[in-house]
Symmetry: C2
């Protein structure tokens, strides 16, 4: 009997393994379908349904099948058992059932209203995977990739505008959605649709903050494919990446905001605590991400580049650790990993061996691709596999209106204000396109699914999911027609574009310093510091620290400077040549990520490093000298 | 109050996310440490502790810390609760505790003797991750990579010997270990160490089968680094890869073998059922893996190679699906993914674009590297985090003896028998080295951890874990001294080696057919079939199907043949030239994975495809003709 039991148990376990395999297989199958669809679409230049929309559609169909075709749940499901002896819920519960002990693992606290017959359907349960997998494993590669592949040159040219949209715009959007939703909720209470539970203003603000995270994936994929105007691309990309971070921290701060007495009254202390939280968490996450990146930079002192596999591995693990450490410390990992990515691309990338550069780029691209499609498939699945949806037509309609109005209240007034200060205005059709491109995606979904225990949260989750479907399918699909309709030029080579703009600017305005008024003084100071001290410290490029640091720091400077940097001592004769050399940008190959020698150089100094030229474009007159001196440094490295 | 509860719940959830992040962070930290150690070792050419041993050591220390430093478990842990109303264990249990419903997830059936105070330590529990993650996620990339990177040329030269060691040798090892352990168990019963539970002969055989899986990782890494003699490398590699598959299926078959009456008596029906199971599962898994590979091959009809990312994604997902499908169908995924890898490398690799070739190779290499180190870290962790170890000194000593004797009983007699038939004998020092290299690793561990509910299983798991530690540290560390001591030559270039051997053979023996007696007639037939029908069907290489299939098949043949293959119609004039061309192997670049044109060809036909030349080496005189005709096909593809 003992023997028999053992083998039964072995078979039980086997059954469990197989089920794990079945769920993964379902995802694999969905992804394979998605890939084939993408290929089909790309092959036929079909742009009305984007791949992410396709992935969601497949997920939807699969969710439908799983829900209505898999076997009915156990008989016991939906029954609540009593246990008088227990005082609280332990993390592991041992239960004796007919003389056999079973081990149960704590999953969650569940409200009475959530108890229903689907609880026992193991298949449904397994397909709705743990939100922690979502947050800890699927999101980091997407955000890191966004930071790592940021086109810094264009990004910094538009930094002021991007920050305005991302910070001020997201705050506006959050408040506008919160206010509109509060109005709708009040109306619902009035007509009697909402009486069994409370819906506070903070809940509305919470909804506003999570719905304010716009998704870069769908629109930018189309923009990238069509080579849409680079400034528009950069504005949208920068906004949506930073705005994710802002929305996440905002959501967190609002969920912490808990006025002590009346939840509807304004509690100044709690409010300022939330604001303080927001700033603290944002700054902390930023610091965490950057410091991990700095740790990675120290690879310049190791000879790790002889082993590209180890280098890639270390790079990958440290970047992921930035995310995990921030989460473990109670900060937001998304912000940390985003800035880690930006910093890695800025410094560490230069230290990597050519092989590792290629490897990391392809690896992150691949992981981003997979994670993205898994998330969109999963969103499709969630519509049918999530067991406690509350669809309220009025609330959904309200959300639709609120999202539109909030997007308009973000883009148009801010664009107007920005255009007052910008030399190169943001034209009307760009503003309309930005308005149209405010899709909601993975982040909104992830924030909504994070906690779905109370009824308001369930209703917000269901609504957020529908908003994602709607915006991805309708706006995502309408991107190409909209571009045509708004007469936004496509097929632009970003580098040609920049050159043309620079040429027209220098023709109209001979004084370099006023031409570059866009790059604020703060950033000029930062770049000076970066170029003089950080770059030489953290990478093999830049002037040697021995020449930039004061005399008395020499011993330390010598220790910290990379030996290869010593080749670049300043020679005065070159100075005049460089300053007169206007054909600078022509020697610059943006598509190659491994520095290549300039193709036909007319002078003795060749510009090859992408990063360096980029800074040159920022018009840091005083530093241009050194920049040119170090421009051929990467080339030397790759030959060594 | 309701409000307050909600925020408490939010914070609870947050706590759970953070914990998920903490565990991942611990693994990341261990991996970073491991990578830095590897780099240090590689830099100082230190070979006494291999990276896998290092990973295990770090895991061990971390396990110690987690076990004794983390907070003590809940008060409730270790208490078994009664529930009279329940008749069986549902997959989800809803429990009402002080008017709040908690949801619990079924984890496992647990024996009374396993109930102990550590059950409630959430940290320990989370670190001992689900074996299904181990099987479904960490193992497939390792096994696939083994198959994908198989050096087929050397593999097929030694195929007979490899199959003998892997199938016959593993069976011998399993039986020998089973018998010796049964003797030890009897002795333990005799001296009174084992009386509270039963330990059957099938349990001993089960232990024998799981301890027969030798691990390729540690030794082969060192061999690869030192460029040890290729034949020895191939023998060990081939054996350990195939023997994993054999051991897994064997373990499964033995666990199914359940004689009806007396568990110690021999039940012929059950025995033959197990044998039938073994053959059925092996064949089924082989078929599953190959058919997935065939599906991937059909990519030759798509123009997917224009999108390397999609191609890589599809390749990755289909290969993983091979594993998951086999598991879901009750076969063994390891066998499926191994043969999927071999087949992919043989056919699909040729269809990939150069970019995808590089990407897939690097991707699988990276995943293999990560998965391998995670597994070894985890093995170290398991020594302290697993909660039901049973260490029995006599059993452990018995296992040590048994493993040695069984390895000897596998290697020496089989080598003697093989040497009777082999033209190129396996020398004594090779045999000693193979004897010494029988390390136990991830597979033995994975098989043992799969079910650890009964006490015999727990004792076997603890013993297997110690055996892994012992063999990896002692034998793994002793590999380099042992190589020196046995005077096995190192620093051999595998291709030079083969050429030299071929040259000496052709000098001593002019008749090609008898020289190549090693390659059995079965494989010659297979290769003929492969070259004439499969290669043209599945790849862009080989003669067009229209010329190899009978006349009446022409319409189908035309449909199935790749358009690029039509360029290679047979020209009679070339025939004589090719047959006389003996300098064939010189034009062959083994290190480049993208076909390159021959460097200085003296004739009009260049040999570039690695695969094709490899077959040429097998001495398939009759097919050499077509082989040469298609050899420059990949080159055309890469130019197109």
């Amino acid at each position: 009997m003992e023997k028999f039991k053992k083998y039964v148990s072995v078979k039980d376990e086997d059954h469990f393994y197989h089920q794990g395999a079945v769920e993964l297989l379902i995802f694999n199958f969905l992804l394979i379908l998605t890939i084939l669809t993408i290929w089909l679409f790309k092959n036929h230049r079909f742009r009305f349904l984007h791949e992410t929309g396709g992935a969601m559609l497949y997920g939807l169909v699969m969710g439908l099948i799983i829900r209505y075709v898999t076997k009915s749940p156990d008989v016991e499901s939906g029954t609540v058992y009593e246990c008088e002896k227990l005082k609280s819920g332990p993390s592991t519960l041992l239960i004796n059932i007919t003389n056999q002990v079973y081990e149960y693992q704590y999953k969650r606290e569940i409200s009475h209203h959530n108890v229903n017959g689907h609880q026992g359907n193991a298949m449904l349960q397994k397909m709705t995977f743990d939100p922690s997998i979502f947050f800890n494993i699927l999101l980091p590669p997407i955000i890191f990739h966004a930071g790592y592949s940021l086109k810094k040159r264009h990004f910094f040219r538009n930094l002021g505008s991007i920050l305005t949209y991302a910070f001020l715009g997201t705050a506006i959007s959050c408040i506008v959605i919160g206010l509109i939703m509060y109005g709708f909720v009040k109306a619902m209470v009035h007509i009697g649709q909402l009486k069994q539970w409370e819906f506070h203003f903070t809940d509305c603000l919470f909804f506003g903050s999570l719905m304010s995270a716009t998704d870069p994936v769908t629109v930018l994929a189309i923009f990238h494919e069509l080579n849409v105007d680079t400034d528009l691309y950069t504005l949208l990309f920068g906004e949506s990446v930073l705005n994710d971070a802002v929305a996440i921290v905002l959501t967190h701060s609002i969920s912490i905001y808990s006025p002590k007495e009346n939840p509807n009254a304004f509690d100044a202390a709690a409010f300022f605590q939330s604001v303080g939280n927001f700033l603290g968490i944002f700054a902390g996450s930023f610091a965490m991400g950057s410091s991990y990146a700095v740790v990675t930079h120290l690879t310049k002192f190791t000879k790790l580049c002889e082993f590209p596999m180890l280098e890639t591995g270390l790079f990958f693990l440290l970047s992921w650790s930035a995310f995990l450490s921030a989460e473990a410390a109670g900060l937001t990992g998304i912000v940390a990993v985003l800035f880690c990515g930006v910093t890695q691309a800025h410094y560490t990338y230069n230290n990597l061996s050519p092989d590792s550069k290629m490897r990391t780029k392809q690896l992150f691209e691949f992981m981003n691709f997979l994670a993205e499609n898994v998330i969109f498939c999963y969103m499709g699945l969630a519509l049918f596999t999530f067991q406690n949806h509350i669809f309220n037509p009025l609330f959904i309609f309200g959300a639709l209106v609120a999202v539109f109005v909030a997007r308009a209240a973000n883009i148009y007034p801010l664009s107007f204000l920005l255009n007052l200060g910008r030399k190169q205005k943001i034209p009307g059709n760009f503003q309309h396109m930005m308005m149209f491109s405010g899709l909601r995606g993975a982040i909104a979904f992830a924030l909504a699914i994070r906690d779905t225990n109370s009824q308001p949260q369930q209703m917000m989750f269901s609504t957020a999911l529908l908003m994602v479907f709607f915006t991805v399918w309708v706006f995502g699909g309408g991107t190409t027609p909209m571009l045509t309709w708004l007469q936004i030029r496509v097929g632009v080579d970003p580098d040609e574009d920049l050159k043309a703009k620079a040429a027209s600017q220098s023709a109209s305005d001979l004084d370099k310093n006023t031409t570059k008024a866009e790059s604020a003084w703060l950033f000029r100071i930062w770049y000076g510091f970066d170029h003089k001290y950080l770059k030489p410290l953290l990478t093999h490029t830049g002037p040697p620290l021995t020449s930039t640091l004061p005399e008395w720091c020499n011993p330390i400077a010598r220790l910290l400077t990379s030996p290869t940097a010593y080749g670049d001592q300043l020679k005065d004769g070159d100075t005049v040549y460089i300053i007169n050399n206007d054909e600078l940008t022509e020697n610059y190959d943006s598509s190659a990520h491994i520095p290549v020698p300039a193709q036909d150089s007319t002078g003795s100094i060749q510009a090859t490093g992408k990063e360096d030229i980029q800074e040159g474009d920022l018009g840091l007159g005083g530093y241009k000298l050194q920049l040119q001196h170090t421009a051929d440094q990467p080339q030397k490295n790759s030959l060594a």
